[in-house]
Symmetry: C2
Subunit: 301 residues, 2 copies
C-alpha cells in the first residue's frame, strides 16, 4: 500500500476525473432561455468550476474496477456532485451555517440572493435524481432504480439531512466521540460510501464485492471528515477556499475538539488504513483507491 | 359531464383518497429515534393532517382507470404529496414568500425554525424520489424509473422550481397573460400534470392514452391555478387556511390581476371543460376525473 502523500498517478487520475465530471455537469445543466435562466445560472455557479470531486472520482474509479463504461460512470459522478453541491448551498445559508465563502468564491446566496440559493439547491437535488433515472445512465432499469434508492437513503433524513439536523441541534453542546462518529457518518459518511458503492451498482457487482466496496467507502468517509476538521482547525482561508476555524467559532463538536489535533490525526490514519484492507481481494485494480485513502488523510486542502 | 359543484360521489372519493394517502404517509415517514428526530417531526408536521390531496387523488384515480392496485398507487400518491409539501415549506420561508400560515396552522419555519424548515423540505424531496425507486412501488423497474424521471422533469429547473424562480424575479412587474400562463404552467401545472400521468405510467398505458391523460392534467392544472388565484383575491384566511390576499400584497401577476375576477373565472371554466374533453374516449371510467375538473373551478376553499 502506497502511503506517500504525493502520488503523481493519483494526482493525474483525480485531475482526469475532475475534467470528465466538469464536462458532464456542463452538458447536464444547459442554460435555460426564459426568465428561469437565473436559476440555472445559480445551479451552474454552485456546481461547476471547483471542488476536489472526491465523490465523483470514487464513482468513476469503482465503476472502472467493475468494467463500467465511462459514459455511464460520468453521469452518475456528475449526479453525486450535484447532490453534494446542493447540500453545500443550503448549508451555507444564513439560517444554517451562514457562510459567505465556498470554494474560494462567494457562496451562492452572496453571489445571487437567498431565495435563488434555496431554489438552486432544491433544483440541483432534483436534477441529481432525475439524471440517475434516465435511460442514458444504464441500460438496466433495475440498476437505475438501485442508484436512486441508494442516493435517497444516503442523503435523506437518515443520511446527510439527518446528520445536518443533529449538527444544528448539538451546536454548543459537548458530544462524546461515539456520538460525533454517528453524526459525521450521517452528515458526510453516507454520501461518500454511496459514491464508492455506485460503481459497484453500475457494474452489477455480486453482493460480497459490493459490501467490501461499501465498507471501504464507510471508513474512507470517516477518515475524510476527521481530516477535514483538522484542516478547518489548522488551515487558512487561502488554502481551503472556504472559511477556516469555523467549527470552533460555531462551537461545533468534532473529533479535533474532543481529542485534539494529534490524536484525531492518528485516528484518521488508522481509519484510512482500515479502509484499504477492504480492498485486499481486488489486487492491483484497487491501487488508486488505496492511494486515495492515504491521500485523504495526508492532504493539505 | 356532471358540472354540479356539489358532487357527493366525488366528495366521498376525495375523502377516501385523502385517508389512504394519510395512512401511507404515516407509514413512509416513521419517527426516528436519535437526535435527528426533530427533522422527521418537521417533515411529518408539514405533510400529514392537511391539504386537499388533489395531486394524490389524481394519481389514485388515474391509476384505478388503468387497473393498478391501490397499494402501488397509494405510494406514488404519497410521494407526490411529499414533493408538494416540500415546495410549500420552502415557498413559505422568510427569503421566499415569507408566509406564517399554511393549512390553517403555523408554517413549518414558524412551528420549528428556519434551518429545520429548510432541511425538512430538502428531506421531503429526497424521500419522494426514494419511495418511487423502491421495489414496493412497482414490480417493473422501468415503470419506477419513468416515475422518477417524470417527477424530476415536473419539479426541477424546467418545472416547479423554475416557475417559482420566474415568480420571484417578476414580483412587482406587469406580465402579459401568455407569460402568466407559462409561469403557472411551470410553477403548479407540471406537477398536477405529472400526478395525472403517474397513474398511466403505473398502468403501463399505451402512449396515446397516456398523452390524453397528460393533456387533461395540463388543462386541469391551469384551471386549478386560476381558481386558486380567485380564491386568494376573494377568500378569507378562515376558509383558505392560509394567508388571503397575498398575491395583490406582494404585487404578484396572476390572471386575476390582469383580467379581473369575472374574466378569470370564465377562463378557468373554459379550461376545465377543455380538460374534460380529453377524457371522452375513457367513457364512464373517467366520471370522477370529469367531476374533479368541474369541482376545481367551483370550489370555495
Amino acid at each position: 500500500m502506497n502511503l506517500a502523500p504525493e502520488n503523481t498517478t493519483l494526482r493525474a487520475a483525480l485531475d482526469d476525473a475532475a475534467s470528465i465530471i466538469e464536462s458532464e455537469l456542463d452538458a447536464l445543466l444547459p442554460l435555460a432561455e426564459g426568465e428561469e435562466r437565473r436559476l440555472v445560472e445559480a445551479m451552474r455557479y454552485s456546481v461547476l468550476g471547483g471542488g476536489k470531486r472526491m465523490r465523483g472520482f470514487l464513482v468513476i474509479e469503482t465503476a472502472r474496477m467493475f468494467s463500467v463504461n465511462i459514459t455511464c460512470a460520468a453521469r452518475v459522478a456528475a449526479s453525486v456532485e450535484m447532490l453534494h453541491a446542493y447540500s453545500l448551498v443550503h448549508d451555507d445559508l444564513p439560517a444554517m451555517d451562514n457562510d459567505d465563502l465556498r470554494r474560494g468564491k462567494p457562496s451562492c446566496h452572496k453571489a445571487f440572493d437567498e431565495a435563488t440559493a434555496i431554489l438552486a439547491g432544491d433544483a440541483l437535488q432534483t436534477r441529481a435524481f432525475e439524471v440517475l433515472a434516465e435511460p442514458d445512465t444504464h441500460s438496466d432499469p433495475e440498476a437505475r432504480c438501485e442508484l436512486v434508492a441508494a442516493l435517497g437513503a444516503a442523503s435523506g433524513a437518515r443520511g446527510m439531512a439527518g446528520g445536518q439536523m443533529i449538527d444544528m441541534v448539538s451546536e454548543g453542546q459537548t458530544l462524546e466521540p461515539p456520538m460525533i462518529t454517528r453524526l459525521q457518518a450521517l452528515k458526510t459518511g453516507r454520501l461518500i460510501q454511496y459514491s464508492a458503492e455506485a460503481g459497484a451498482i453500475l457494474g452489477r457487482a455480486p453482493g460480497p464485492l459490493r459490501h467490501l466496496i461499501a465498507a471501504y467507502g464507510r471508513d474512507l468517509g470517516a477518515a475524510f471528515q476527521i481530516a477535514d476538521d483538522i484542516l478547518d482547525a489548522e488551515g487558512s482561508e487561502a488554502t481551503l477556499g472556504k472559511t477556516a476555524g469555523k467549527d470552533a467559532a460555531q462551537g461545533k463538536a468534532t473529533m479535533v475538539s474532543v481529542m485534539g489535533v494529534q490524536r484525531a490525526r492518528m485516528h484518521a490514519g488508522h481509519l484510512a488504513q482500515q479502509a484499504a484492507t477492504y480492498l485486499d481481494s481486488f489486487g492491483e485494480k484497487a491501487d488508486l483507491l488505496r492511494a486515495l485513502a492515504a491521500f485523504t488523510v495526508a492532504r493539505r486542502s
